[in-house]
């Protein structure tokens, strides 16, 4: 028996009730939810996750209503319920909202809500970042959806292809799409950073990597995918908005641009996006199936293989949305091969689930009904997916209703049904009351039958040649009956969702509370009491199994009596445990921040920047941006890198860990590293643009074009390298307690940064490069702009560190700030090096 087990045995002999009551009193005080109107300043995962989930679901219903309008319009030929223009806005918003405001956010929302509970943590490491992301999401989502009521919604399809959206569509629609959704994408990336660090660093002691719940594996994979998939779209959005707002011709073939560049950047995002939406729903299935089978999941390692494998291969599929664009057949072949190989891991996980059901003793209930329905529907969608992965077949059905049928079978089967099942499953954990099995069964069958009735006929209407995105069709082409059936099915599906919604919102005050762990699940989130307490985990458990509630003796009693780690909040502060990545050994007791309005104000400021810029109100937009920026600085200054009142803390079971950590041992360093990976990916998207233009033009840079030369770019590289070296030197000096030297080095770094950015702009400026003349000039300028903005951010960081050091908040032992800033500058150095090599070096070669 090891030391921890002995201590646990000893703790069991102690009289517990009075100690327990006192501990719970202190925990309640530390984790108290703000009352009254202050409720909206909450940042705890249980509040933010809930708001986030509800909002995503409301957007889902909104987009669902749009779908019903479309089906009503298409019920009969030559219908005039809506005009062509209204129809365009409706289908564009339907797709965009389902993808950006429901698909991805519902995963992040739900993970923020339940991941800490699955890991037995009190909260994720950056609660305020989650809250900031939520408010950004809400503002951006309301902005994009609201545009429909003013008749100015985007109408170029959810992928906004130029030249349609650059040449033929006036008005604000495309700008609303670009800026509104870019804003939400930033929030999505923020949540992804939070979730990756959460899954890797806030696992309970003992939960080694091989014991991590599969849900957490999927969270890791999906958040990692977001990090590589969203940034290319942000880069694309930047190019697109520069073209729309300032006439930089990235996608205009008359001036050397190419609309295909947008398609590449969009689908490098857009295809992984499908898996970003699908994998979390499969994660929910992987969470529910063991519970209902009453046994551990069969093939844990195989499911990890499936999640990781799908995560990678899904990035090699993007061109299968572009088979009809005239790329060489050999290129299409590569993507066809990858599209077929992704079916292997997808199949593996489905077989693992079926095997678990077969060897377990499955009980019948509503969540399992949804899971079974999901399998049936998704497998059909997967099979048509293999069909359209093949180029010759795809060329026949491209842009027809066959594709509409395929993608809805994949997404409704693979996402909506598992999510509905999961809402039914987790409802008692969040609300304390159960949903009705009777209403749930009715809702499921209506939805399942309605769905198949709506979408199965679309395969046929597609094969008969009905194109997507048309607002009406003529009689006599064999489409009337199929479309009428689809419309009846769509309304039946809607009736099912209405029953589901009623079950969720109906008053439940007379209904008794659900029993604790009502499904007899084995994972830690079900250790929570019902109704749930604001502190989340009563104590952070010592874990020695994948299903502690099934396998660990006396687990609930130990949990309720706080015999594991951190059962108390002696200093009445919010705390959780940080552990190592592989073996989950406790290394830090992290103080997490409490309620604040700063996140809401910062989101409102950033939202104002994006919303007002859409309407070209640049002065007001910048003013809002400045408010947001100042708020973020106040947030950083007052709420991060806090000085603890003591060095170490006893977290129970004989373990004492530090309260402060910096560099790779700290969560902030990891968050910076992960964020910069995403940032570097966006930059790679821009650089890709440059070399893409080189491949499509016979000569690039075009003959006669003045480049930025080599002198100023090299000067800039030298100065920014100096800024990097000075920042690193400052880190060394501050760690050796030379505060004055550190400040001087940072001041030198700041001056070199300013000079370096100016020198970078001087190259294209002095040679008179006009970004509106040709895609070449525009691409050089956009790289300079990107690098310059990053230099400005680096400058702010240097100045911030000077202020922190001067205020005595940045010292040799309290060096989080400078450690993170030095990490940023490594990425900054790589950015300037690539920019200079591209804009100054590449023209010398070609």
């Amino acid at each position: 028996m090891n030391a921890r087990a002995k201590l646990l045995d000893w703790a069991r002999t102690r009289p517990g009730e009075s100690v327990k009551a006192a501990q719970e009193r202190r925990l309640s005080k530390a984790w108290e939810t703000p009352k009254g109107w202050r409720y909206w300043s909450a940042v705890n995962n249980t509040e933010v996750g809930l708001w986030y989930t509800i909002c995503a679901f409301v957007f889902f219903l909104f987009a669902g209503v749009l779908a019903l309008i479309m089906r009503a319009q298409l019920a009969v030929p030559d219908n005039d319920l809506v005009t062509a223009d209204q129809y365009n806005q409706i289908f564009t918003l339907h797709g965009s909202v389902m993808m950006f405001l429901f698909g991805v956010p519902s995963f992040e929302a739900f993970s923020i809500l339940v991941l800490p509970q699955m890991l037995g943590a009190r909260d994720l490491p950056f609660p305020r970042l989650s809250a900031f992301g939520f408010w950004c999401f809400l503002i951006g989502g309301v902005f994009v959806c609201g545009s429909l009521f003013f008749g100015i919604a985007p109408k170029g399809g959810w992928f906004m292809y130029p030249p349609l959206t650059t040449e033929y569509q006036d008005g604000y629609g495309a700008d609303i799409w670009l800026l509104g959704l870019s804003f939400i994408e930033i929030a999505s990336i923020a949540a992804a950073v939070e979730l990756i660090v959460g899954a890797l660093k806030t696992r309970p002691p003992g939960m080694r990597i091989n014991l991590m719940p599969l849900y957490a594996w999927y969270v890791l994979v999906v958040a990692g995918m977001i990090l590589f998939a969203f940034p290319p779209l942000i880069a694309g959005d930047l190019l697109f908005e520069m073209q729309r707002a300032f006439d930089w011709p990235f996608f205009d073939p008359d001036r050397g641009g190419d609309p295909l560049l947008w398609q590449h950047l969009f689908w490098i995002f857009g295809h992984p996006e499908v898996y970003i939406i699908f994998l979390p729903a499969i994660a929910l299935v992987a969470t529910m199936i063991p519970t209902f089978a009453g046994r551990p999941l069969v093939g844990y390692s195989w499911v990890v293989l499936a999640a990781v494998g799908t995560g990678f291969i899904s990035f090699g599929l993007w061109v299968h949305h572009m088979y009809a664009t005239g790329l060489p057949n050999v290129s299409l072949g590569f993507f066809s091969a990858a599209s077929v190989s992704v079916a292997i891991p997808t199949g593996v996980q489905i077989f693992c689930f079926i095997a678990t059901m077969l060897v377990g003793r499955a009980t019948t209930n509503v969540p399992l009904l949804y899971v079974s329905g999901a399998f049936a529907v998704f497998v059909l969608g997967g099979l048509t997916g293999v069909m359209v992965a093949l180029v010759p077949f795809d060329l026949q059905v491209h842009d027809t209703y066959f594709i509409v049928a395929h993608l809805h079978y994949v997404l409704v089967g693979g996402v909506v049904f598992p999510i509905l099942g999961a809402i039914h499953y987790f409802f008692p954990l969040v609300n304390g009351k159960s949903l009705s099995p009777r209403l749930g069964t009715i809702a499921f069958w209506l939805a399942f039958v309605g769905f198949n009735l709506a979408f199965w006929p679309m395969h046929i209407s597609g094969l008969r040649g009905m194109p997507r995105r048309v607002f009406t069709y003529e009689a006599g082409m064999g489409l009337e009956l199929l479309n009428m059936i689809s419309t009846i099915g769509a309304f039946t599906l809607a009736a099912g969702l209405a029953v589901f919604l009623w079950d969720v919102v109906r008053p439940k005050s007379r209904q008794p509370l659900s029993p604790r762990n009502p499904w007899n699940a084995g994972t830690i989130e079900w250790a929570a009491k019902i109704p749930p307490e604001p502190w989340g985990a009563r104590t952070i458990p010592a874990v020695s199994s994948r299903y502690p509630l099934w396998d660990q003796e006396n687990f609930l009693d130990d949990y309720d009596h706080g015999r594991f780690y951190l059962p108390d909040a002696e200093e009445v502060k919010r705390e959780t445990i940080i552990t190592t990545v592989i073996d989950a050994v406790p290394i830090q007791c992290l103080r997490v921040p409490g309620p604040t309005w700063l996140t809401l104000i910062a989101a409102a400021g950033a939202g104002g920047l994006f919303v007002l810029a859409t309407f070209k109100l640049y002065v007001l937009a910048l003013l809002c941006g400045a408010i947001g920026f100042a708020t973020i600085l106040i947030w950083l200054w007052t709420g991060t890198a806090l000085e603890p009142e003591k060095e170490e803390k006893d977290i129970g079971l004989g373990v004492t860990v530090p309260l402060y950590a910096s560099g790779p041992a700290s969560v902030g360093w990891w968050a910076m590293f992960i964020t910069m990976i995403g940032d570097a990916t966006a930059f790679a998207g821009l650089v890709f643009g440059y070399y893409f233009f080189w491949t499509v033009h016979p000569q690039f840079p075009p003959a006669g074009a003045d480049g930025p030369g080599t002198f100023w770019p090299l000067v800039s590289l030298g100065l920014l390298a100096l800024a990097w070296a000075a920042t690193l030197a400052a880190r060394g000096l501050i760690r050796r307690e030379h505060r004055g030297g550190g400040i001087a080095a940072l001041a030198l770094g700041a001056l070199s940064t300013i000079a370096g950015v100016a020198a970078l702009a001087a190259g294209p400026w002095l040679t008179g490069m006009d970004p509106t003349v040709h895609a070449y000039e525009a691409t050089v300028w956009v790289l300079v702009l990107w690098t310059g903005i990053h230099g400005a951010i680096g400058l702010v960081m240097q100045l911030y560190c000077i202020a922190r050091a001067a205020a005595g908040r940045l010292t040799a032992r309290r060096d989080i700030d400078i450690a993170n800033v030095a990490l940023y500058w490594h990425f900054m150095l790589a950015t300037i090096a690539v920019t200079v090599a591209t804009i100054a070096g590449f023209p010398l070669l070609s």
């Binding site: 090891n2 921890r4 087990a5 646990l8 003992g206 939960m207 080694r208 990597i209 091989n210 014991l211 551990p296 093939g299 844990y300 390692s301 195989w302 990890v304 293989l305 990781v308 494998g309 995560g311 990678f312 291969i313 990035f315 090699g316 060489p328 057949n329 050999v330 290129s331 072949g333 590569f334 066809s336 091969a337 990858a338 077929v340 190989s341 292997i344 891991p345 010592a542 874990v543 020695s544 199994s545 994948r546 396998d551 660990q552 003796e553 006396n554 687990f555 990545v581 592989i582 073996d583 491949t695 499509v696």
Partner: protein, 138 residues
């Protein structure tokens, strides 16, 4: 309950496994090679057809390049797979590696690495088959 029910078992693995620092990076290594091979193949073919052979030209030279990439990728993935399998074969922790011990964790990491190497190996062959059957840039 069987031996699963022992609440806390921790220090019962061979000492060298306890002490060994392991990383997660073996798990994504093989699929990362798949990604690199995929990207290199795509970029090579794109540049070949756009800049060297022309849109109606022969793929001949590019096919040899891709054969080279494929050879390198398959050997590298196979090495990772063998290493994963060796990890997996080491120690006597029982499948399905669901205990809180260093040996279980060790075997799990090895097995996952091996499985991903197998998937990546097949996926690289899928991609390479394209140039077996495609002779021109058309």
């Amino acid at each position: 309950m069987d031996e699963r029910s022992d609440p806390i078992r921790n220090e019962d693995a061979p000492d060298e496994l306890q002490a060994r620092r392991e990383t997660m990076f073996m798990i994504p290594a093989a699929p990362a090679i798949w990604a690199a091979h995929f990207l290199a193949s795509y970029v090579t073919a794109a540049i070949w057809c756009a800049k060297i052979a022309g849109r109606d030209g022969s793929l001949e030279g590019a096919r040899w390049l891709l054969a080279g990439y494929t050879g390198v990728a398959l050997v590298a993935i196979a090495m990772i797979g063998v290493r994963g399998f060796r990890h997996h074969s080491y120690g006597d922790a029982t499948a399905p590696h669901d205990f809180d011990t260093a040996a279980d964790r060790h075997r799990f990491l090895g097995f996952s690495t091996f499985l991903l190497a197998a998937l990546s190996f097949v996926a690289v062959i899928f991609v390479a088959m394209v140039v077996v059957f495609t002779e021109t840039c058309r």
